[in-house]
Amino acid sequence: MSFVVPVGPQHPALEEPEHFRFTVEGEEIVDVDFRLGYMHRGIEKAFEEKSFPRALYLAERICGICSGIHSIACVEAVEELAGVEAPRRARFLRTVLAELERVHSHLLWAGIAAHEIGFMTLFHLTWRDREHVLDVLEMLTGNRVNYAANKIGGVRFDVEPKHLGKISNVLDDLEEDALRYMDVFTSDRTITARCEGEGVLSKGEALRLATVGPTARASGVDEDMRRDDPFAAYGEIDVDVKTAEGGDVLANAEVRLSEILESINILRNAVEQLPEGPLSVDAPKKIPEGQATNRVEAPRGELLYHFKSDGGEKPSRGKVRTPTMANIPAIIEKLKGETIAEIPIVVASIDPCFCCTERVQIVDKNTGKTQTLTKKELREMREE
């Protein structure tokens, strides 16, 4: 006999509301249906209301974990529109910011994955080591997450000689930790028992469903925007793309942890080769007419920004495609045939990152039709 196990929008395993409906026979998942939109903030509509500098600050707040890469993608698209080129030192600093953020995002993922399989200690240890990276980011840009580091035409922070000491210490410790976690993730018997062979995505499927980022690289797809379509200063720093075979949760862990090691090398190169020069050039307030598309490699995969300007101060169209959107078909593929116990770890294996919702939504149990309460109705309900 099959019944529906609703997972989400509120569920301890999912940090952000996405709603999956699993029709299940016993413990085995037969069919998967999902609902997006709990997090739709109408950002693309808001882009059209704001001037370009303000749109940049909005872009930075789309994702709570990878806000830096969003602001880099957005600012580079606008610079392309405005025909402005950020100075070399600014591009190198943007690479430093992007890589530091990739390290702390992957460490965060390692903790969440450990939490999903019930390994609380690994969760605490990975997030403890992540604090060192956030301290470095706070020292450089003034805040742990929303860095406000970019402006059209350059960057607003700088790596001074007095920062170099701390940065190299943190990188050395991180390298040690990453190697240790790589060892733990791949050889601890209880972890491999839960992660090996779970949520498998074959390379053919990964290519057919156009998955991006570490999820695709875990299935053997050799694609990375940092090398294929270099942005910021990645053209001058060579990036060794890490892939793994198998496409299961363990392969995802291997790819992400080896990417941390790769990021540490990139960071060392970038900080050494930091060229002298200005931090930014001034940009026109009115952006000339035209359109620009820009792609970057966010920690979760390929992130695309598309801006159109009609010559005014405000973008006439702003489009963002976050990497998680591309990986949703991959979740469906991975979850079919799995058991309930595997839902959180398989969903977490693509490291989903959604954003937040506008209104309270009630899913009517039998008809399954959602009904949205506006602010007024919400207040009336409270007074009843």
């Binding site: 003034g142 406000a148 601890d188």
Partner: protein, 107 residues
């Protein structure tokens, strides 16, 4: 044999990593973007900060001096960069919780 035992035992006998907030507080680094504060004498009331503030959190009061509405402010320190006379500085205060919204003001 579980891999983490040496780690875990080392942690058991070393000082915990976490702090007992609010008894032990963490000192933010040097250019931390905390609550913006204006030096009223230095300010020449040019209104540049009001125009540049992305969320529009700065309004000039009756004496033409900027007032920051901390409920709207996103602590991006654009005003600090924009001020020609460097009258606005970023403090290290980050405990900004208030019960009454009208008190969330930085004069």
């Amino acid at each position: 044999m579980p891999k983490l035992i040496p780690d875990v035992l080392k942690n058991l006998f070393s000082k915990p990593f976490t702090l007992k907030y609010p008894f032990e507080k963490r000192e933010p680094p040097e250019n931390f973007r905390g609550k913006p504060k204006v030096d009223r004498e230095k300010c020449v009331s040019c209104g540049l900060c009001e125009r540049i503030c992305p969320p529009g959190a700065i309004t000039l009061d009756d004496e033409e001096k900027p007032v920051f509405d901390l409920g709207i402010c996103i602590y991006c320190a654009e005003c600090v960069d924009a001020c020609p006379v460097e009258a606005i500085e970023k403090t290290k205060e980050y405990e900004l919780g208030v019960y009454d919204r009208s008190k969330a003001i930085s004069k």
